[in-house]
């Protein structure tokens, strides 16, 4: 005989509201939820306010990055890498370019290494500022968010000065970078860092030791050292459990081994430890960038200044008329293209390798050799052709090890490009961090992971 059910039992299952036992509630957080930076879905099973089980679902931002890379040439993947971690796109650019350079076996110029280091570190600060600012905002500290975004704005102005864009910068190239640093970059960077330091100091006074902030962060979202390693988590989350692993220190690339900096670590492994690691890393990044700026070499300028400067139009005209003898050696006065990308600067920041690097525009327009070289790199079926083989190159992204595994079949298109996204492992382990905690703690824990949809879903 069917038992009479109350409406409550009908809605919530047998036994609900009768005192006979409790039911767990399933709550879906996301995919479109203000605290799920980007789009992600967490299916949480709640017992009261405690999360007993969580299933994290990703893939809402999947754009077939790896498949798209196989379609165009090797350099055509650079704009796609901008959109992986869109807060620090420069690091992605250089990570990918370095993987291809490793496959090709070429070495970039000294000045280019320094430029890559400086701009990477600026990007890293932007990333940490965004992460901490957004997490603090979700805990109610809106002021911190505004301060942090203000500081990020100073840095993005620097990025804009160098690359010409703020977000989708496409600045890296296989074999170098797009253009040299602008002339007054050093002063601007020091001025911006001064303001960033002021902001960080303010934020430290606002947050570190703040009762509300500490209550929400200390002891929340803890992941043990063993589990962090077993989940292949790198970056600030690994350093927050006391493992001083940083790709820049462990397998130094570019010029990180020539600079004096520290790997900040904490031991607690909770959200607060991650916050402290990120705050300390920003100061270290500024130290790295400042030292690199002091050490940056001018680099070889192979142009022999024999002729007197002429204006670009005359130069191009002479090239068209076939008067190319000695034309390569003539320095010209006005940049015919992007600022900072003239021939002399081009040679400083790009590897002297005709298989890889596009010639400067003066050479392309002014000499038949340059034009042919340009064509050989642009025409379909030619382009950059690394020898068949495979290479894995890792850089330290803002969230941890950012690795690119590239496979070449010897043609002008990548056979396979694999990106190891640094924020996928922490997302895979997120359910371990939030299970057993209050549902409100999901938000700061998720914030401390710094999920970036672009690189997580690719």
């Amino acid at each position: 005989m069917a038992r009479a059910t109350t409406t409550r039992e009908f809605m919530l299952g047998e036994g609900a509201g009768t005192g006979a036992g409790s039911q767990n509630i399933h709550v879906g957080v996301g995919p479109a939820h203000p605290a799920m930076h980007g789009i992600i879905r967490i299916q949480a099973e709640l017992d009261g306010e405690v999360i007993v089980k969580a299933d994290v679902e990703i893939g809402y931002l999947h754009r077939a990055f790896e498949k798209d890379c196989e379609v165009g040439g090797w350099n055509n993947a650079i704009p796609y890498t901008d959109r992986l971690n869109y807060v620090s796109p420069l690091i992605n650019n250089f990570g990918y370019a370095s993987a291809v350079e490793k496959l090709l076996g070429i070495d970039i110029t000294e000045r280019c290494k320094y430029i890559r280091v400086i701009t990477s570190e600026i990007s890293r600060i932007c990333d940490h500022l965004t992460c901490i600012g957004a997490s603090a905002m979700e805990l109610g500290a809106f002021t911190v968010f505004l301060y942090m975004i203000k500081a990020r704005e100073f840095l993005w102005e620097l990025v804009e000065d160098v690359t010409g864009a703020r977000l989708t910068i496409s600045y890296g190239r296989v074999g170098g970078v797009k253009a040299d640093l602008p002339p007054d970059f050093g002063d601007k960077m020091r001025a911006a860092f001064k303001q960033v330091r002021e902001v960080l100091d303010e934020v430290h006074r606002l947050l570190t030791g703040n009762r509300i902030f500490m209550d929400r962060m200390v002891g929340v979202g803890v992941l043990s050292r063993e589990e962090t390693i077993a989940y292949a988590i790198t970056g600030p989350l690994l350093r927050a459990v006391g493992v001083p692993y940083d790709v820049r220190r462990a397998q130094p690339y570019y010029v990180y081994d020539r600079l004096d900096w520290e790997v900040p670590t904490q031991t607690a492994g909770d959200n607060f430890a991650r916050y402290l690691v990120r705050m300390a890393e920003m100061e270290q990044s500024m130290r790295i960038a400042e030292q690199a700026l002091d050490q940056i070499p001018g680099g070889p300028i192979n142009v022999d200044h024999q002729g007197c400067p002429i204006d670009p139009a005359t130069y191009v005209d002479q090239g068209k008329q076939g008067k190319t003898e000695g034309l390569l050696l003539v320095p010209i006065t006005l940049s015919p293209n992007l600022q900072g990308s003239e021939r002399h600067a081009h040679q400083r920041v790009n590897a002297a390798d005709k298989r890889v690097v596009l010639p400067p525009k003066e050479t392309t327009y002014g000499s038949i050799e340059g034009l042919m070289n340009h064509f050989m790199l642009i025409m379909e079926g030619y382009g950059i052709r690394p020898p068949a083989g495979e290479a894995y190159f890792a850089v330290e992204g803002a969230n941890g090890e950012l690795g690119f595994y590239v496979v070449s079949d010897g043609t002008d298109r990548p056979y396979r490009v694999r990106c190891r996204p640094p924020c996928l492992p922490p997302m895979a382990a997120l359910h371990r961090m939030i299970e057993g905690e209050m549902v409100a703690d999901l938000v700061p824990t998720f914030g401390s992971v710094n999920m970036i949809g672009g690189e997580l879903d690719r």
């Binding site: 893939g59 690795g403 056979y415 997302m427």
Partner: protein, 165 residues
């Protein structure tokens, strides 16, 4: 340990199970048989001299269009191992055919293999035997095919599926 020494050690221990090795561009690589895979991975993780405690990456390559490899096994599943203790790296590969694309799972060794194997299943259709929950990771369940296979056309569209109710 130096990369070459790691490869020598693996060859000495596992003999014929290590099919091929190379050190192209400083990335030391060993190709192992599917039968010995879990044993080799376990040895790499647990041996004190190797101590590969991190499964840095797990992916696959469809080699069916790679010159000279068209007729061999279609997929290569690639494991990138790293050791935090000794600061060295190793790449392990296992080849599987299209007819029987199954690899034993590495989830008992490293929990991160859970998601990485789901992604490989999603993108390549390589199944992992013993995986606790082999669902698609990035795409949706109704998606047909495995897009990173070389015969999946780049411009192919699939109907968008609404949320499951």
């Amino acid at each position: 340990m130096e990369g070459g020494a790691i490869l020598a050690e693996l060859q000495a221990r596992f003999g014929a199970a290590v099919v091929e090795t190379h050190g192209h561009r400083g990335d030391h690589t060993a190709v192992v048989t599917r039968e010995a895979l879990i044993e080799v991975l376990g040895h790499c993780r647990d041996d004190a001299r190797l101590a590969f405690d991190v499964l840095m990456d797990l992916t696959a390559v469809d080699v069916s269009r790679l010159p000279g490899r068209e007729d061999g096994p279609r997929f290569e599943v690639v494991y990138h191992l790293a050791s935090l203790r000794h600061n060295h790296r190793l790449r392990l590969k296992v080849r599987v055919s299209e007819d029987h694309p199954v690899v034993p799972t590495a989830v008992p060794l490293w929990p991160i293999a859970d998601w990485l194997e789901r992604e490989v299943w999603d993108m390549f259709g390589v199944r992992f035997e013993g995986h606790p929950d082999l669902r698609r990771l990035l795409l949706y369940e109704e998606f047909v095919g495995h897009p990173l296979r070389k015969d999946y056309p780049v411009n192919r569209r699939q109907p968008l599926i609404g949320p499951r109710i």
